[in-house]
Symmetry: D2
Subunit: 158 residues, 4 copies
Amino acid sequence: MRVIAVIGRSACSVAESAAAEEVGALLAENNVAVVCGGLGGVMEAACRGARSRGGFTIGILPGNDRSSANCWISLPIVTGTGQARNIAVVRSSDAVIAIGGAYGTLSEIAFALDSGIPVVGITTWRLAESDAGPVPIHEAGTPREAVDLALRLAAEKE
Amino acid sequence: MRVIAVIGRSACSVAESAAAEEVGALLAENNVAVVCGGLGGVMEAACRGARSRGGFTIGILPGNDRSSANCWISLPIVTGTGQARNIAVVRSSDAVIAIGGAYGTLSEIAFALDSGIPVVGITTWRLAESDAGPVPIHEAGTPREAVDLALRLAAEKE
Amino acid sequence: MRVIAVIGRSACSVAESAAAEEVGALLAENNVAVVCGGLGGVMEAACRGARSRGGFTIGILPGNDRSSANCWISLPIVTGTGQARNIAVVRSSDAVIAIGGAYGTLSEIAFALDSGIPVVGITTWRLAESDAGPVPIHEAGTPREAVDLALRLAAEKE
Amino acid sequence: MRVIAVIGRSACSVAESAAAEEVGALLAENNVAVVCGGLGGVMEAACRGARSRGGFTIGILPGNDRSSANCWISLPIVTGTGQARNIAVVRSSDAVIAIGGAYGTLSEIAFALDSGIPVVGITTWRLAESDAGPVPIHEAGTPREAVDLALRLAAEKE
């Protein structure tokens, strides 16, 4: 099962929500499961989009029970470990699509890059070049571009 | 999706492996997904049994990549948090079936009971009565009995 | 710095609280730091006892800030990982003294035994013999006996 | 006990090591404990500096035992939860000083900012302005400037 993470804020903008929903729908059309942090905002929109196309969605939750999962989650994983679940969200995926996002999203981008998992961003964090060279966040202009890029990067990684 | 955890040692006995395989097969026949710690022994046998009946298996891994997952895992969740993943294994399930097991399994039984998740055991840990009354580990004599009991307890819990 | 964990319920009995306070005081008199889960009940009583003798107390907290720490904690460690901090409490110690306790305490005993860290118990969990032989929870009748035993076991382990 | 985190790579440059050692020494001179990830490189240098001035150092380790701690750690905390310990390093501190650093350090900066803990950087990550406004990483030119700034920010936070 190919799995792509969609990450972003639980309190997101209308534009971020629309982008996330389209990303989710396109991933499902490509038979790719969506993994996310399981809560609202970008996470919920991505799952709603995926389910609208018959997709499969995994929510890796920070809390101690399933009640916090958004209603479009097919499979809730209840970690009980708070934001340590951010690590699991990205490490369980073949590629990551970041949509907007605040510091929690930044931590997920950091863990993904640390693990060699490709990151595609739609108006997300931009990092200045570091000692290790340019930071490989692949910028995409549209949901379709982001999904195409993420699928290609995931395939190349195999 | 109904999900039942199968827990036990990665280095298990032949009898435990046979029991786990039958448990996995019976869960799949009942359209229940198997969640486990994703490694070998009881975990692997349960997944092999489930897959032999077309079932779905989730492996919640302690390490940092998928390479440690047994080959019968449909969906690896890569937590990167070591044995803290034991919490996720039981909290993500509707009921737990423990087969044999050492101290890691005991920690999972403790977290399940702490969370009010029913635990069925096949020759697993027996806990002396505590101040809080008898410890509700439901003993089962056979894999079929364990699966029937776990399904009934999971249904009652809803 | 020698460190001994004191574990037990946040909602404990008067007898457990008295035992924990005496254990904490005796550890401090022996120049041993107390590590615990940082919250109330047994944890708070052990810290209060230690501080009454000028001891040093470490609280490994489940939540996201220091506000939940009991007021006798010298050094709060804020893990943000919920009950996964139970692992850190026992693995950071040279020996564990369990006083009473419910399922959370049982998970800590399991992680300690799994890590080869000696466990001394005062009216705590009793585990039936497993396949691996008798479970090495050393029972102590009094706080002094528990502290003497824990100190000896910690020294032997070196 | 005032606690300031020093974060950076385990495989650091000579300049980063020198800066970290001076930061550690200055923190100890100000009676501030150093918390870090407990391993080598920047972490080890900061601890060595602190200990050279009689300081107290806390190493929050990712692994399962103390053997990976650098030899300047006064108190090892053994989390067993891999990089989830990055959360604990920053959340247990009053302020964070980042020296250089790769993606692990970036995740720590993200968690610190997410928690409202002030971050001072010496040639560390620079984040482009986000929707939420400029990212508050306070740049310092020298170890002394970094320590003065961190102490002031920690005091203001109270």
